[in-house]
């Protein structure tokens, strides 16, 4: 048996990092717009006017790359089976030190829900962002509502991303390799995604 198994292709990895880069560009350029408390972040872009311009460009990149990423993986992330139900019931074993094992496919339900949330947030942030982009072209109530929803979805997205980064790095050692080199250790795959490992390797773990 090989020690490594491919989890993400080079194309999938590049796409993920395009989404990541545009996300953090949006975060940094948008912080000053979210609140005057974060006015200092404007200086990263040479002033608020430039930050708005960067925010708009990064917004277009994020909108399309994020939605494309979801559509590419939509089959894997939108179906839930019995094993997923068991994972959800036990919160994936994350709330206990006890060893927990689940017969999980390529993605666990947490990852699936994260993917669906980010896709929905991308759509909502994109549409509300469009109204905020040209507020004088739309009725005032639509723009007012958009400002609120854009802020709300921003907060929600950042909080989910904090969890995502934690679980993909120090929370589950070995996971980040899937997004860096594409290959994960077989041991990791057997432990976290046994059903997927069996299908992908043709091996019975």
């Amino acid at each position: 048996m090989s020690n490594y198994i491919e989890r993400f292709t080079a194309g999938e990895r590049v796409l993920h990092w395009i989404v990541t880069a545009s996300f953090f560009t949006l975060l940094l350029s948008g912080l000053g717009l979210f609140s005057r408390l974060f006015n200092g972040y404007f200086t990263l872009f040479g002033g608020g006017g430039n930050a708005i311009m960067v925010h708009k460009i990064a917004g277009i990149v994020f909108f399309f790359s994020s939605l494309y990423m979801f559509l590419k993986h939509r089959r894997d992330v939108s179906t839930f089976d019995e094993d997923d139900r068991r994972w959800i019931e036990q919160r994936g074993g994350y709330l206990s030190r006890e060893e927990a094992h689940f017969n999980i496919g390529k993605y666990n339900p947490g990852q699936k829900l994260f993917a669906i949330f980010i896709a929905a947030a991308t759509l909502i942030l994109g549409v509300t962002g469009l109204f905020i982009w040209a507020p004088t072209l739309f009725p005032r109530w639509i723009v007012q509502l958009s400002l609120m929803i854009h802020g709300l979805m921003f907060v929600g997205t950042v909080m989910f991303v904090v969890v995502h980064v934690y679980l993909a790095t120090i929370g589950n050692p070995g996971t980040i390799e899937a997004m860096l080199y594409g290959d994960v250790r077989s041991m990791w795959a057997k432990r976290h995604h046994p059903k997927w490992y069996k299908e992908a390797s043709g091996e019975n773990p």
Partner: protein, 263 residues
Amino acid sequence: MADAIKAENRKGFLVDTSRCIGCRSCQVACKQWNKMAADKTVEQGSYENPRDLTPALYNRIRFLEVGEEPGGVNWLFLNERCMHCGEAGCMKVCPSPGALYRTKEGVVAYNKEKCISCKYCVSACPFNVPRYDSDDKVSKCHLCLDRLSGGMPPACAKACPTGTLKFGKRSDLIADAQATGKQLYGVNDLGGLGVVYALEGPPERYGLPATPHIPLSIFLWKDVIKPLGILGFWGSIGAMLLHYVTIGPKKIDEAPEKEERHE
């Protein structure tokens, strides 16, 4: 109140609509003092002209024809402009410090050089006042700040021939008007408006909101989502760290035979 104004310094208008004859001297004087070009207008069957505030029109007279008892029509005139709210929605949302600022007289003034063209003020204004000029910068009544600093009243008040637009110390104007028994609009709303009206009839008749307030979604954005969001951000980071040191990561470097137990 985020931007506290000293009541004894606060200047403002008292607009007594019963005295207004709709001559629009205020509009013209404002244009002249602030050196703004005329707006091209269209004849639409009304003396009201222009029909809305523009980036080059800081105040105007709203003409309202209100049907009264059978056959009768009441012609109402309302001077419309930035209200210089005590709690200003525009200042609440402006992300660029110094673009919109409060003077010691309580004026909501602006500095176009600091405006970053986000147009949040357009959405946050309770009275739909701010406009954006051809350079995409905020534009509205600034109470003739330059005249004010020289001890002169704003051009509109100077030009008003009927005493409709009274300018002065806000508390004195309100006290005088209340002494004559007039019903006033804007004394306490939004931290007190810088433009207080003595109206003939309910405010809705003039197209003014009965209880002016910062739009609900703007309030929720700035006063609820913003603080809770910052809390949520640090909370989620704290929760992850707590998880790491209490429950800990899911390690994979276990004895292989344990791994064999799957399925």
